[in-house]
C-alpha cells in the first residue's frame, strides 16, 4: 500500500477513535454521576442498578466508571494531539490505553456475569466501544509502525 493511503487510513481511524472516545467519555460521566449521587441509572433492564449497588463495582474503592472516564479522556487527548504531531509514541499511547481498556472491561464484564450476575447496558456499550477503539488503534499501529 502506498504511503499516502496508509496515512489517509490512519487519519480516518483516528477520527473514529476520537468520536468513539467522546461517546465513551459521556457514557462514563453519566454513569459516574449516578454512582456518586446514588441516583438510578436509566437502563433497559434492572441490571444497571444491581451493578451500581454491588461492591464489586468499586475496585480499590474507586467506582468503575471513573476508570472509563480517565481512559476515554486520555484517548480523546491523544487522538487530538495526533492531528498536530506525528510522533509515533502517541500511537503507542492510544494502543496502550485501549489495551488496558479492553482488559479492564473484559475483567469487569466477567465480574458482571459471574459475580454480580447482572449486566449493565452502559458497560456493555462501553465494552463494545472500547473493543472497536482497540482494533482501530491496533490497525493504526500496525500500518504506521510496520508500514503494512
Amino acid at each position: 500500500m502506498s504511503q499516502t493511503k496508509v496515512i489517509a487510513k490512519s487519519i480516518f481511524y483516528n477520527r473514529i477513535i476520537f468520536f468513539l472516545s467522546i461517546i465513551g467519555f459521556f457514557i462514563a460521566i453519566y454513569v459516574l454521576q449516578s454512582f456518586l449521587r446514588g441516583s438510578s441509572i436509566i437502563c433497559v433492564n434492572s441490571g444497571c442498578e444491581i451493578v451500581r449497588k454491588s461492591s464489586s463495582s468499586y475496585p480499590f474503592g474507586i467506582p468503575v466508571p471513573a476508570f472509563g472516564l480517565l481512559g476515554y479522556a486520555f484517548l480523546i487527548l491523544l487522538s487530538f494531539v495526533r492531528t498536530t504531531a506525528t510522533n509515533k509514541n502517541f500511537i503507542y499511547g492510544q494502543l496502550g490505553i485501549a489495551t488496558f481498556g479492553i482488559l479492564f472491561l473484559g475483567w469487569f464484564t466477567y465480574t458482571e456475569i459471574f459475580v454480580i450476575k447482572a449486566i449493565c447496558t452502559w458497560c456493555a456499550i462501553s465494552a463494545v466501544n472500547m473493543a472497536i477503539i482497540f482494533v482501530l488503534a491496533l490497525l493504526t499501529a500496525r500500518r504506521e509502525i510496520f508500514n503494512k
Binding site: 487519519i11 477520527r15 476520537f18 468520536f19 467522546i22 461517546i23 459521556f26 449521587r37 446514588g38 441516583s39 438510578s40 436509566i42 437502563c43 433492564n45 434492572s46 442498578e49 480523546i76 487522538s79 487530538f80 492531528t83 498536530t84
Partner: protein
Amino acid sequence: MKLSGESKLFIGILLATVAIIAGAVFFMSQPEKTLSRSDLLPSDTYTKGNKNASSYLVEFSDFQCPACGTFKPLVDGIITKYKDKLLFGYRHFPLYNTHPFAEKAALAAEAAGRQGKFWEMYEYLFENQQKFSDEVIMEGATVLKLDKEKFDKDINDPKLKDKINRDVAAGNSLGVNATPTFFLNGKKLNISSFDDLENSVKAEINK
C-alpha cells in the same frame, strides 16, 4: 499556534457532541411532573393507613425481590409511625425474567385479598421469600386459614393476572425500572439509603 484542518475538524466534532448532549440533558432534566393520585392509586389497589390522608406513598414491589424484602421492615415502620397521616399502597412489579416465583406470589397475594387477607399474605410471602417454591406459596393459603378451594380457583383467575399486568404496565409508563420503587405524593423518590425513605416521608408530612 496554528491549528491544522484536521485539528479544527476535531474541535468541531467535540463542540457539536457537547452541544447535542447539553441539549439532551437540558430537555431531559425538566422538572418531573407530579403524577395524579388516581394514576398511582387505582381504586382496587390494596392500601394501609389513613384513606383520607393527604400524603400517600406507593410502592412498586416484587415479593421475590431481596431489596423489597430488606425494605419491608422499614416500610412497615413508616406505615405504623405515620398511620394517621399517610396512605400506603402496594402495587405489583414482578420482575419475570429474574424472579421465577414473583408472579405466582403476586397472584397468591391477590387471591388472598379476595378473602380479605392481602396484607396477611404479604407478610407470609416476605417472611418466606428466601425459600420460595410453588408449594411454599400455595401453603400460604393453609397457614392463613383461607378457603383453599376458592384460593385455588382465584389464583388461576385471569382477572387477577390482568390486574398484575396492569400494575406492571403502569409501572413501566411511570418510569419504574427497578424494585422497590416508591412514589411519594405523585413524585418518584430517588433513594440511596434506608434513611432517605423515612426522611422523605417525614419532610412531606411536615410540609
